[in-house]
Symmetry: C2
Subunit: 250 residues, 2 copies
DNA sequence: ACGGGGGCTTTCACTGAGTGGAAGCTGGGG
DNA sequence: CCCCAGCTTCCACTCAGTGAAAGCCCCCGT
């Protein structure tokens, strides 16, 4: 084989999947090639094979999209649909009691991924999307996940510049470090207007035998928020789920 | 390369993903190799690469599972999460009005795939799973999807033996053909105890510019069911979604 | 402590699946 | 009618991938 030796076929195929994103879920062959950094003919051949299997689909406009078969396989991810199936009833309970936004997220590397969300039609609008990513250092769920992440992960997050979303976003590594210690101590996290100036979130950990695997939060309008009152609710829900996952209480 | 010439690397990678199923979402390396029909060393190498990217994950038990990264990419499928995002509010309305099970499905080849489900805690238990498959000829959603599928697909389904789930399952191709014509004529489908003896479902099509792309249904206990009363509800919900997808009314 | 076995990991020399430049093909806009 | 951008096909070269076999590890029974 010629160009770019050292790059495996598998990595090229995965690069094609990487080319898709929430912002651009439909790509032409050329866009796909450009984003994946591969020659057109290579992409053409690999895409044809993914198409045949159902990993990609092609619309009437000729653009490639992620295919249903890949969605099906993805739905077998324990930390994806698996977690959602367990958590949804509890999240619905939490919604019924509060009528506020309920969010479920897990950590993937140095970011969080939203697994499920119940958005009350009358609750504060939140800009999160199921399947979407976000930084760990600003949201309630993020703080919980970061506080219980391996030290190596924490250090890597603290070492990188912490993006500022509002004036209240914690961007100082030292302060964030103290924040995380506090989250571990009290067993829940509060993010007060650290993402948007109208929202406050309260989050609690969900434990499995191997440790904290997910976080659950309520996102409410900051001016009608009472974190101290909400925390026990979210924590209780987290404990119910921890028990369901075998992550013992305590 | 040696063994099994004619098999592409990509097809081997996809065979690994195919090895996972709702019934066995966690596999050892050997199981993976056996199911994919590939030598152990080949699987070991390919799986390592999928692991590094996040398409697979490995639990404390050493078993491979579908990774979150694949779930993320899968969530970009327009017919998966995309459709769900649009449909969920309408499905919730339907649930609020009826407090019965609401199901959303699309066709994938000769089967249907459930995209979303709202299962009332007090509604009839249904055995469907989000991400799960089912035959087209028995359920309400299946009949709708089949009735509006390309003729080639219909013929292939009709040509194969139609599995019988209950005494009321339509297994005669001729009768099924008349059934489908009726579904197209009246604009909705009723499956009365054709899957289980306690349930009845009423389904309506969801149209996009390219035709019927999904189906929506209510599943109720057969003895408290009035299909004629439910049909307009489901059809109305279907039409709301069709309009949202640009699939004009009529 | 010891031996056996099942499962995972690594090695190595061979080879055909994959490559990408270039040439052909579309289709739609001016 | 021609041009251009994007897609598809072709072809000779070559390195990524292959799989049998050997090595390793850990658990279980004795």
């Amino acid at each position: 084989m010629r160009g770019q030796p050292g790059r495996s076929v598998t990595s090229r195929v995965l690069a094609l999947l990487d080319a898709f994103s929430p912002a651009s879920p439909a790509l032409t062959l050329s866009e796909l090639a450009r984003r994946a950094g591969l020659p057109l003919s290579t992409v053409h051949r690999r895409a044809a094979e993914l198409l045949a299997w159902g990993a990609l689909e092609r619309g009437v406009d000729g653009r490639y999209r992620i295919g249903l078969r890949l969605w099906e396989v993805g739905s077998l991810a324990p930390r994806g649909l698996g977690l959602r199936e367990v958590a949804l009833p509890v999240m619905e309970d939490l919604y019924e009691v509060t009528h506020e936004n309920v969010q479920l997220a897990v950590r993937q590397d140095l970011e969080l991924v939203f697994i499920e969300r119940i958005a009350g039609r009358h609750a504060v609008p939140v800009l999160t999307r199921v399947g979407g990513r976000f930084a760990l250092h600003a949201t309630g769920v993020g703080l919980v996940l970061l506080a219980h992440a391996p030290v190596g992960v924490q250090e890597r997050v603290l070492a990188a510049p912490l993006e500022r979303y509002t004036d209240l976003t914690v961007t100082d590594p030292g302060r964030l470090r103290r924040c995380l210690a506090e989250v571990r101590r009290v067993g829940y996290a509060v993010s007060d207007r650290q993402v948007t100036l109208d929202a406050l979130s309260v989050a609690a950990p969900i434990r499995a035998p191997e440790g904290v695997v997910a976080a659950l939060s309520l996102v409410v309008a900051h001016d009608r928020a009472d974190p101290v009152a909400l925390a026990p609710l979210v924590q209780a829900a987290g404990r119910v789920l921890s028990r369901a996952l075998g992550g013992a209480h305590r």
